[in-house]
């Protein structure tokens, strides 16, 4: 059993699916393997905020029963999938890593939850995040700080730090995160796994606690591009409960991986390779570019002239939307309510003071300020217009390219506490990912090397709207020729 589980927890979802299919293993067995691995490692990684073993095993049993009857619901029937703790599952906690929702239990399912249940996956645990997805290091969780499995002194990235770290630590084979400014791609990069933010609107946000509605998007984490394709196929697609959900035909992403072969025209936006980029990261990304060139792809230098405006634009839009989205956490209907209240106004002031941590308060204050009387035009409206210009830059680049290639992050994982005192420095760690959210484009990060310290380096590929199949194929071509994804941290 032990050797078996050791083999299991770093297997890809595709491999696990095949084992289940061949009946070489049961869902209960593999779920137990991940439970054991989690128990063995999570004291140091701290990726999970909570989990319910009995519930996971019950789901696994149900899956085994379906399979025994010859009625598996999908390729992922019986495979564990772990969710960031900002997505709703009936009867499970939904804390958003915030004290204000510490005791809240969801009475309903998110759209992705429904899709996953229909596919028969085993929902396994609730993953840590920066409170309400506000952060880049998962240090802003109100409950615990998640460690990077590659170096426990370092941060796993954020805000989906738990989703990335749990995968890198072998605690789950698949997870979901949400990405508002890089919250999937940046932790994927820092934890040496694959993470994808699809086009805005591809996956319903219904049931995802909103941070910034016009930027938020759910996406998968996995060890390989193929696993990402598998999971994406299950959760993508129109949902009428999300007015921003896009009506489009969902292709078979897994099949598309092999059918699309290039050669592609690959754009290299020069602004991503300037000041602030770590030389080792730069070298790895350039090696990846060279690989594509060797494969016969056309490499083209392009420009995103407005890139340096992305960060201020993002922080104005994201904090403004957040200040309004988080107003519902008020101490009245379901959130934490302060005991120290004399009237209804106190309930707001005190519950929110006690329930939100510092970064959330800071962003609510900033967002409230930029929307307040007299400042709207100068900040919010201006930012929306600049957002148009940034998107135009990208669309222009895509006139001559199939994909853009950039580093995902300027540096490898930084040390815990290194940037937490200076919000602006922390914000700057998202500089390469933010513009993709502003433009609504699909982007993914996959491993493309390791630093001299042994820390993972990520490559970001940015695709055209709703061209996820193409984007995954391009990433798959790189991944199949390298073995970065096969490397795992020692825990």
């Amino acid at each position: 059993m032990t050797t078996m589980t050791e083999h299991l927890f770093y297997k890809t979802a595709t491999e696990l699916s095949a084992l289940l299919e061949k009946k070489e293993i049961t869902s209960v067995e593999l779920t137990k393997a991940f439970i054991e691995r989690t128990k063995a490692t999570d004291d140091s990684v701290k990726a999970f905020l909570s989990y319910d073993e009995a519930d996971a095993l019950a789901q696994a049993e149900a899956s085994d029963k379906r399979r025994a009857e010859g009625k598996p619901l999908s390729a992922l029937d019986g495979v564990p999938v772990s969710l960031k703790d900002n997505m709703a599952v009936t009867g499970q906690p939904h804390t958003c890593a915030s004290k204000i929702l510490e005791h809240y239990v969801s009475p309903y399912d998110a759209h992705i939850t429904e899709q996953l249940k229909k596919a028969g996956v085993v929902l396994w645990g609730r993953l840590n995040l920066d409170e309400f997805a506000m952060g880049s290091s998962t240090e802003n969780s109100a409950f615990q700080t998640t460690a990077n499995p590659w170096d426990l002194e370092r941060i796993p990235g954020g805000s989906s730090g738990g989703s990335a770290a749990s995968l890198a630590a072998g605690q789950t084979p698949l997870s979901l995160g949400s990405d508002t400014g890089g919250s999937i791609r940046q932790p994927a990069s820092l934890c040496g796994i694959v993470g994808m933010k699809p086009t805005y609107g591809l996956i319903s946000r219904y049931g995802l606690a909103a941070f910034a509605s016009s930027l938020d998007q759910i996406g998968p984490f996995a060890h390989t591009i193929k696993d990402v394709a598998l999971l994406l196929g299950i959760i993508a697609g129109h949902d009428r409960r999300d007015s921003t959900s896009y009506k489009t035909e969902i292709p078979n992403y897994v099949e598309a991986l092999e059918s699309k072969k290039g050669p592609w025209t690959i754009g290299v936006p020069k602004e991503y390779f300037g000041e602030g980029l770590d030389p080792e990261v730069k070298a790895s990304v350039e090696k990846a570019i060279a690989f594509y060139k060797d494969q016969g792809c056309t490499i083209k230098e392009v420009s995103i002239p407005k890139l340096d405006l992305a960060l201020p634009t993002y922080y104005i839009i994201a904090t403004a939307e957040a200040s309004s989205n988080l107003a519902r956490y008020d101490g009245i209907r379901y959130t934490h309510r302060s005991e120290d209240t004399k009237n209804a106004i106190d309930v707001y002031f005190k519950s929110r003071e006690e329930g939100f941590s510092e970064e959330v308060k800071r962003r609510i204050i900033l967002g409230t300020y930029v929307l307040s009387s007299g400042y709207y035009d100068a900040y919010y409206l201006k930012a929306q217009k600049v957002r148009t210009l940034i998107r135009e830059d990208f669309m222009k680049a895509f006139e001559s390219c199939d994909v853009l290639i950039t580093p995902t992050t300027p540096t490898t994982a930084f040390k815990r506490g290194e940037k937490s005192a200076d919000p602006l420095q922390m914000y700057l760690s998202d500089i390469y990912t933010i513009s993709v959210n502003l433009s609504g484009l699909p982007g993914l990060s996959l491993p493309c090397g390791y630093s001299s310290e042994g820390l993972p380096i990520g490559l970001q590929l940015i695709g055209k709207p709703y061209e996820e199949a193409e984007l995954l194929s391009i990433a798959h071509a790189f991944e199949s020729a390298h073995d970065y994804s096969a490397k795992h941290p020692e825990l």
């Binding site: 809240y104 239990v105 009475p107 086009t199 805005y200 609107g201 016009s214 009428r240 896009y246 407005k306 340096d308 405006l309 201020p312 634009t313 922080y315 104005i316 200040s323 009245i332 209907r333 959130t335 309510r337 209240t341 004399k342 009237n343 209804a344 106004i345 106190d346 707001y348 002031f349 005190k350 929110r352 003071e353 939100f356 510092e358 308060k361 800071r362 609510i364 204050i365 900033l366 409230t368 300020y369 307040s372 007299g374 100068a378 900040y379 201006k382 929306q384 217009k385 600049v386 957002r387 148009t388 210009l389 998107r391 200076d422 919000p423 602006l424 914000y427 433009s439 609504g440 709207p465």
Partner: protein, 97 residues
């Protein structure tokens, strides 16, 4: 309202946002957000004459649903997380205008 354009009137804004802040937090936010606003100044130089504001990445018109009722919550479900309730209603302390 603040006099310096890069200085936030924290009291005014915290009041709008309904969050009590300690004096220490106020001082810290004042300084940190002041820096952030300086950084935001990058935008003021951008010419956006004639540029449409972007509210949605891919706007479509008329995402509408037919007026057909769907089952909702029972009172128990609706209030399952409300610690303070009576007669299937949420209790709030006195509402003062």
């Amino acid at each position: 309202m603040a006099e310096d354009k890069n200085s936030i009137d924290i009291d005014y804004v915290a009041n709008l946002a309904r969050i009590d802040l300690s004096q220490e937090e106020k001082d810290r936010f004042q300084k940190q957000l002041g820096d952030v606003l300086v950084y935001f100044e990058k935008l003021s130089a951008v010419d956006v004459e004639g540029v449409e504001p972007m509210a949605h990445p891919f706007p479509v018109y008329n995402v509408l649903e037919e007026d057909v009722v769907e089952e909702g919550f029972t009172a128990e479900e609706a209030l399952m997380n409300a610690k303070h309730q009576r007669n299937n209603q949420v209790i709030v302390p006195k509402v003062v205008e």
